[in-house]
């Protein structure tokens, strides 16, 4: 049994013919070819796969493609406008907010939502807001710094 799924991914409307069990992260990576969304676990713990679905951060390994039907999805590849980097991306670069880069797309997408809700997020707010994202490299120090700095720049 296959299903038709219509999605707008990074501003572009597309249609897919999918199995009902297909995960959104696999649709993005294998069907759309957007491999920036990484997969770090199989129990919805790590947040590497975080994307924005209708503006909200979701773990795309925990959403079925059919559930995303009709929604607008933004991945790390679509975050920045034509004018270069999104302020959160820039801030991660400026503050050494990444090492191996694997958790980074998910961290950045989560950060966008944290700052959307509260651009003045404090160090502690950010640490709390990152509870669903794991980074094994940075010890979070510079991720937190990057997000707080991006917020300060936005507000």
């Amino acid at each position: 049994m296959r299903h038709r799924v219509c999605l707008t991914v990074n501003g572009k409307a597309e249609e897919f013919d999918v199995e009902p069990r297909l995960l959104l992260c696999h649709l993005l990576r294998a069907y759309v070819g957007l491999t920036g969304t990484n997969i770090g676990c199989d129990t919805s713990q790590c947040g590497s796969c975080t994307v924005l679905m209708d503006g909200k951060a979701v773990k795309s390994c925990t959403v079925l493609a059919v559930q995303a039907d009709g929604s607008e999805v933004t991945t790390i590849e679509g975050l920045a406008g034509a004018d270069g980097l999104h302020s959160v991306q820039q801030s991660f670069w400026d503050n050494h907010g990444l090492q191996c880069g694997f958790c980074t797309p998910g961290m950045i997408m989560t950060a966008v939502e944290i700052l959307d809700r509260n651009p003045d997020a404090s160090d502690a707010d950010v640490r709390h807001g990152l509870e669903g994202n794991i980074c094994r490299c940075t010890g979070y120090e510079n991720i937190v710094k990057s997000i707080v700095a991006a917020g300060a720049r936005q507000s």
Binding site: E19, R21, L22, H26, R29, A30, G33, L34, T35, G36, T37, N38, I39, G40, C41, D42, T43, Q45, C46, S48, T75, I76, E77, A80, L85, Q89, F92, W93, D94, H96, L98, Q99, C100, G101, F102, C103, T104, P105, I108, D123, A124, V126, R127, H128, L130, E131, N133, I134, C135, R136, C137, T138, G139, Y140, E141, N142, I143, V144
Partner: protein, 786 residues
């Protein structure tokens, strides 16, 4: 000189990662690709009585199903062990088992299918009957009389015994000691958990008989060597191994794994490109794991606190098979570090490497050195308690004084340089140690469980002098290659045999070469991780890339400079001794007249046109060096941590964490700080949250990220990082390596802090991780139960 080295140049690799353009192995996709999935053993030890692959093979979309026999018949050799101490017993480790599984996760059968989902379905459809066999999981219990044997031919489950040190001096120290403190402790099993699960992809070109393998490896050349010589059998000249962007390794991606053989073998067999990507659960149960020691030790001292001897016996769990470097970790990287940062005449250690029905154990960040540091630093705290001394003060009393370097320990190492007293006083000042103790006294008076931990730790980095490694059991050398290729336009490509998987080599090594040549950093690109482009190199682990890999590049850059200088002198019609190479600008000019000179680009071009070169000079400007270090380097650290244990929930809250490290000269302070911060949080994870737990029947109880608790962002309130620099005297950069020091110091400092907090309750020891449950049990056992 030195426009870049020592400054926090922003990382050149970041733009691709922050835009989602990282080139990870899991992103490799070719038309017509088959997706490989592996049937894993759910049993820790069992005989396979039947495998039925027919239902799987018949499924729509399944391209092929293979069993262990197919791999054997197809010419796959067993995985070798690359480090053998005397009389090591090495169990056979097939790529895919044929008749017996030895740990949960052992590979039993392989599917190749049109999609990953079909491959997963087919794996489910393979039927395997197991006849369970008795299991053993405990490092020390494995040697018990009558313990089940993991491999019938290996008596007592002992792979090797190893010892080092001056036993006589040690015995004398204990015979004459005023005080002796003893401890028995476990350094628990850890699961490295790099965020990128392991993966491999392969493409076979039948016409040229060339195989390309992409793998999540920290060291593609050694993997190519092992694939060629032992497991896959394709000549090195026909085999290209690429480790593109790798999402963290921490040691776990050093080793040669079965899937690196399975995937190319399948690709050739089915005539289509193939890819395998581990699920997280699969990675947790097949990536080599870390630590897992049981240790009994005692420290001898005089009544005024001078350490005189240390006696250690350790049982090191090696798992079901010997992973690539397994015997190295608890021998030459552990016993050798038992002298710590202290002067102690009588150090002696022995270790028993045992086999169990668990996932193989090998290097994990720090690898042997954290085990040594945790043991020594716990003993020093116990000694301070026994003597009624302040633990910082006792450490300062026993620290090797800076004028004693180079310092020969009783356990083989010659420490290169250091200033441990300054390290500790810097940490104490930075933390306001006296103020912390004052605050602790006040908190205690209010009935709070406040503790302060302090450590001074040592690491041996930058492995290794090849001859020394060889004498200790290595099958390979540990030099590094570095090539500096100047193109005719003056652009520079740098090829390093080391490999970055988060460390930022594309930036730091460019800083080094740009400074050596006096060219803009933008004109230097760093290439690594591809045996098709880079000279043979040993890869990255043991904090070696700067000390060994960087030094190789310095040597090559020196050769470039020498040649450029000669060409410059020739073109300027001056004697070589009358011209200088200006390392700020890359120009060669006549001494005293900087204006009459030639630019780097002009000289590079001249090297390639070869119209007018000095008599007898070969054209071109490209040099390779193979740098074999003269010694290890010895980073050191002093960390101070303040904690409070909640007497309701028994949770540990870290109030402050101060780290002062000496990693020698620093190339990029921002990157070094990042390495330390990341390392520290991993070490805190071992202290507070992480354990690779097995049930008695060998089931891995923490096989997903639900149970295996890696630190989250809120575990620490922040880390204050500072440093001192004592340059390593024996490499041209003066660097010591920064990758592991944080991890090594963090575990004991947090443990010391928590036990200091619990001291008023009479608790003297708790096995890691210090979870609320374990703390509560210890408090109850110490007689505080209500």
């Amino acid at each position: 000189m030195g426009r870049y080295v020592g400054t926090s140049v922003k990382r050149v690799e970041d733009p691709r990662f922050i835009q989602g353009k990282g080139r990870y192995v899991a992103n490799i996709q070719f038309p017509d690709m088959v997706y490989v999935a592996i049937k894993r053993s759910p049993e820790a030890h069992a005989r396979i009585t039947r495998i039925d692959t027919s239902a799987a093979a018949a499924m729509d979309g399944v391209v092929a199903v293979f069993t262990g026999q197919d791999f054997k018949d197809g010419g796959c050799g067993s995985l070798p062990c690359g480090w053998l101490v005397p009389d090591t017993k090495v169990p056979d480790r097939p790529i895919v088992v044929t008749d017996r599984v030895c740990h949960v996760g052992d590979s039993v059968a392989v599917v190749a299918a049109r999609t990953p989902y079909i491959a997963a379905d087919a794996v489910e459809a393979i039927e395997v009957d197991y006849e369970p066999l008795p299991t053993v999981v405990d490092a020390r219990g494995a040697m018990d009389e009558g313990a089940p044997l993991v491999h019938a031919e290996i008596e007592d489950n002992v792979s090797y015994h190893w010892a080092l040190g001056d036993q006589e001096a040690c015995d004398k120290a204990f015979a004459e000691a005023d005080e002796v403190v003893e401890v028995e402790l476990v350094n628990q099993r850890l699961i490295p958990t790099a965020m990128e699960p392991r993966a491999a992809a392969a493409q076979w070109d039948a016409a040229s008989e060339e195989m390309t393998v992409w793998t999540t490896s920290q060291n593609p050349h050694p993997i190519r060597l092992l694939l060629s010589a032992f497991t896959l059998g394709i000549p090195e000249s026909k085999l290209r191994v690429i480790s593109p962007d790798v999402g963290g390794g921490f040691g776990s991606k050093i080793f040669h794994y079965p899937e690196e053989v399975i995937v190319p073998w399948v690709a050739r067999e089915v005539g289509r490109p193939a890819r395998w990507v581990a699920t997280r659960t699969e990675s947790q149960m097949t990536d080599s794991q870390g630590r897992d020691h049981v240790t009994v030790a005692k420290l001898a001292m005089t009544s005024d606190g001078a350490f005189t001897g240390l006696d250690v016996e350790t049982w090191a769990n090696q798992g079901a098979y010997l992973s690539t470097f397994a015997p190295l970790i608890p021998t030459a990287l552990y016993i050798t570090l038992l002298s710590g940062n202290y002067k102690m005449p009588g150090v002696f250690g022995k270790v028993h490497g045992t086999l169990t029905n668990t996932v193989p154990v090998d290097a994990y960040r720090g690898a042997g050195r954290p085990e040594a540091a945790y043991l020594v630093e716990r003993l020093v705290d116990l000694a301070a308690t026994r003597l009624g001394r302040d633990p910082l003060d006792l450490r300062r009393q026993n620290a090797i004084p800076k004028e004693d370097f180079p310092y020969q320990t009783p356990v083989a190492f010659l420490y290169d340089s250091g200033d441990y007293d300054r390290l500790m006083t810097t940490a104490a000042d930075r933390a306001d140690y006296a103020g912390m103790r004052q605050a602790q006294a006040e908190a205690r008076a209010e009935g709070k469980l406040r503790g302060v931990g302090v450590v001074c730790c040592i690491e041996a980095s930058g492995p290794a002098p090849s001859a020394v490694a060889g004498s200790l059991g290595s099958a390979v050398g540990f030099w590094e290659s570095g090539e500096v290729r100047v193109h005719p336009t003056g652009q520079v490509s740098v090829f390093t045999g080391s490999h970055a998987h988060g460390q930022g080599h594309e930036t730091t090594l460019a800083q080094v070469v740009a400074d050596e040549l006096g060219v803009p950093i933008e004109s230097v690109e760093v290439v690594h991780g591809d045996t098709g482009r880079v000279n043979f190199g040993m890869g990255t682990y043991g904090s070696r890339s700067a000390c060994v890999g960087g030094s190789a590049l310095v040597r090559s850059a020196e050769k470039v400079r020498a040649k450029v200088l000669r060409i410059g002198a020739h073109l300027l019609e001056a004697a070589e001794e009358d011209v200088v190479y200006d390392r700020d600008t890359g120009r060669v000019h006549v001494k005293g007249s900087p204006d009459s000179g030639k630019d780097f680009g002009e000289l590079a071009f001249a090297a390639y046109t070869a119209h007018n070169l000095p008599e007898g000079m070969e054209p071109g400007l490209d040099f390779v060096s193979f740098y074999d270090p003269a010694n290890f380097t010895f980073p050191a650290s002093s960390h101070i941590c303040e904690v409070e244990v909640c007497s309701d929930t028994w949770e540990v809250r870290i109030l402050r964490y101060v780290a002062v490290d000496d990693v020698g000269k620093v190339i990029n302070p921002m990157i070094v700080e990042g390495q330390l911060q990341g390392g520290i949080v991993q070490g805190v994870g071992q202290a507070l949250t992480e354990i690779g737990a097995y049930s008695d029947d060998g089931q891995l109880l923490s096989g997903t990220l639900l149970e295996y608790a890696v630190p989250r962002a809120d575990l620490l309130p922040g880390i204050e990082v500072d440093r001192i620099e004592t340059p390593s005297p024996h490499n041209p950069l003066g660097v010591k390596g920064a990758g592991e020091m944080g991890t090594i110091a963090a575990t004991p400092v947090v443990a010391n802090a928590v036990l200091d907090a619990l001291a008023p309750l009479g608790v003297t020891h708790i096995e890691l991780p210090l979870t609320p449950e374990r703390i509560w049990r210890a408090v109850q056992a110490a007689g505080n139960g209500a």
